[in-house]
Amino acid sequence: MIKVIKSGIQLTIQDLGRVGFRHLGVSRSGSLDTYAHIIANRLLNNTDNAAVLELTVGLCELQFQCDTVIALHGADLKATLDGHPLYPGWSYPIKAMQTLKFATGRGGSRAYIAVKGGIECPEVMGSKSTDLGAAIGGFNGRALQSGDVLAISPYTKPWLCNKGALTPPKRNIIRLHVGPHYELLTPECINAFCDTAFTINSNSNRMGVRLDHKNADIMQHTLSLPSVAVAPGSIQLPPDGNPIVLLNDGQTTGGYPLIAHVIEADLHQFAQFRTADPITFKFVSLEQANAAKNKLDAHLAQLKLSLSRYWD
C-alpha cells in the first residue's frame, strides 16, 4: 500500500491510455510523457503499460506501507526518501514506512513514479488511466487527495539492478506534420506560425497547451469548419489566432482549423514545458518524423537490452 500524505498540485494514476473508444467520444488519457513512463517501468522490469503515478509540479508526499522498489523518471522535482535525495532515471528499493517527498524543480513539469508490479486499480474500458473530464479510471476517476491509499503488491526480494537511464534531451523546436486545413489559412498566417516565438500559457493542462505570442493579429481568421476528429498532438487555430496543442485529455472532435500535428516523437515534450517556456515550430517530412520515432524506439530497445541481464 501507498498512503498519500500530500497530493501536491496534481497526482494521478496513469497507464499508456484508453484506446479504441474515440468514436464514442472517450479521450485517450494516459501519461503525458509516455517516454518517461515507459523508461520508469523498464527500470523495474514492469510491462510498459503498468500504471504509474504522474505528479505535476511537485509538492507531494507519499508513505509506503510495504517493501517495494520504485523508479523515477521525467522531471527532476527534487525527490527525497527519508531526507536522502533521489534522481530521475534510477530505481530504488523501499522499506515499509519510508516516506517519499517531492519539492519542486525548474527542469520540467511532470515526474513519473513507477512501482514494482505497477499501481493496482480496476481497469475501466481497458485502461487504468484517470480521465479527469469523464471522471473514470484511476482512483475513482479523480486526482489523488491526501488520505487516499493505493494498492500495490509488496516486493521483498533483494534489488540488484544498479543501472540508470538517461533523461532524453529537451527540445524547444517542435517538429510538425502539415495539418489538413493548412491550405485554408492565409500564407501570412502560416508564415507567422512558422516564424513566431511562442511561450507556454499558464492556462495549460492535461487537455491542451495554450500558446502566447505577439502575432495573434496576423493569425486571426474567420473560418468556420464542420467538426473533425482531433487527437493528442493536433494543433488547433481558434479564430483569435492563439494556437492550442491538444494533449491526452483533449476531446475527440473539434471545429477549429487544424494547422498542424506534432510528430509522435516530439509530443512527450509538452508534458514537461512550464509556463513561459519558449517554443518554435518546424514542419518536417514523413521520413523525418519516422526517423525521429525510430531514434526514440532504438533508445528504448537499447535500454531494454542493457537491463535484461538483471532480469534473467
Binding site: G137, V228, Q251
Partner: protein, 219 residues
C-alpha cells in the same frame, strides 16, 4: 455524389478522409457511406481508432507501415462501400417534454407546446458521430421549424439526461456539463456507463426516436 474525396496524411500513422465539401442535402447519405467505410476498415483489424465526424472519417493506424497502403486504397474503397453492411441499432428514448426552455422554444417559433413536442418526437434521428463528452450524440434529423439559435448565456451546468436544441442540432447530455443549448426535455436513459460491457448507449450510425412520456423524470 461524384465529387472526389479529400484524403490527407495527418501523421505517420493517421489519415483524414474528408467528404465535407459534398453539398448540404447529402449529409446523411454521405455519412452512411462513411459508417460503411469505417466498418470495412474496422474489420481489417489494422486500426486503433476510426472516428467519424461531420462528413469525415479519421483513421488511426496500429502501424505506420500500413499508412501508404491505406492512403492509396481509400479512394477506391469509397467507390465500393455503398452496400457494405455496418452495425446499427435503433433506440426508443423515453422523453419527458418538460424542459426548462420548452416555453422559450415554443414562443420563439410561435408554436404551441404540443406542436413543438410533435415536431421533435415524430422525426427519426441518426447519430452522425459522438464527441464533446463520452456518449454525446450529434444527431441528424431535427425539423427545420425547430432550429433555434443557442442561448446567449450558456448554462454552467446542464443536467445529465437533458434533451436540448442548439441551432440546427438536437442532442442528449450524458452527464452534467456546461452547455448553451435550449433544454426542451429530459430522459432517464443512461447514455454512458463506463462499467457496462457497452459503455455508450449510442454509436455512430444508430437511429433514435424520442417517445413522449407523461409524468416526471426520476432524474
Amino acid at each position: 455524389m461524384s465529387m472526389i474525396p479529400s484524403i490527407k496524411i495527418l501523421t505517420n500513422s493517421s489519415l483524414l478522409f474528408d467528404v465535407s465539401h459534398y453539398s448540404e442535402p447529402h449529409i446523411l447519405a454521405t455519412q452512411k457511406k462513411l459508417w460503411a467505410l469505417a466498418q470495412y476498415c474496422k474489420n481489417s483489424n489494422e486500426f486503433i481508432d476510426l472516428v467519424p465526424a461531420m462528413n469525415s472519417l479519421t483513421l488511426y493506424l496500429k502501424s505506420s507501415e500500413m499508412l501508404h497502403k491505406w492512403h492509396n486504397n481509400l479512394a477506391k474503397l469509397w467507390e465500393e462501400v455503398d452496400d457494405y453492411p455496418f452495425d446499427s441499432q435503433h433506440h426508443q428514448i423515453n422523453t419527458y417534454y418538460q424542459g426548462e426552455d420548452l416555453d422559450y422554444v415554443a414562443n420563439y417559433h410561435q408554436l404551441t407546446i404540443d406542436e413543438v413536442i410533435n415536431l421533435h418526437s415524430k422525426e427519426l434521428y441518426h447519430v452522425l458521430f459522438l464527441g464533446f463528452v463520452p456518449g454525446f450524440p450529434y444527431l441528424h434529423g431535427l425539423n427545420s421549424r425547430l432550429f433555434t439559435p443557442r442561448r446567449d448565456n450558456p448554462r454552467v451546468s446542464v443536467p445529465k439526461g437533458a434533451i436540448a436544441i442548439g441551432a440546427d442540432q438536437t442532442g442528449i447530455y450524458p452527464e452534467d456539463s456546461p452547455g448553451g443549448w435550449h433544454i426542451i426535455a429530459h430522459t432517464d436513459a443512461c447514455l454512458f456507463d463506463s462499467k457496462a460491457a457497452n459503455p455508450c448507449l449510442f454509436k455512430p450510425g444508430d437511429t433514435i426516436e424520442f417517445v413522449p412520456v407523461k409524468g416526471v423524470s426520476n432524474d
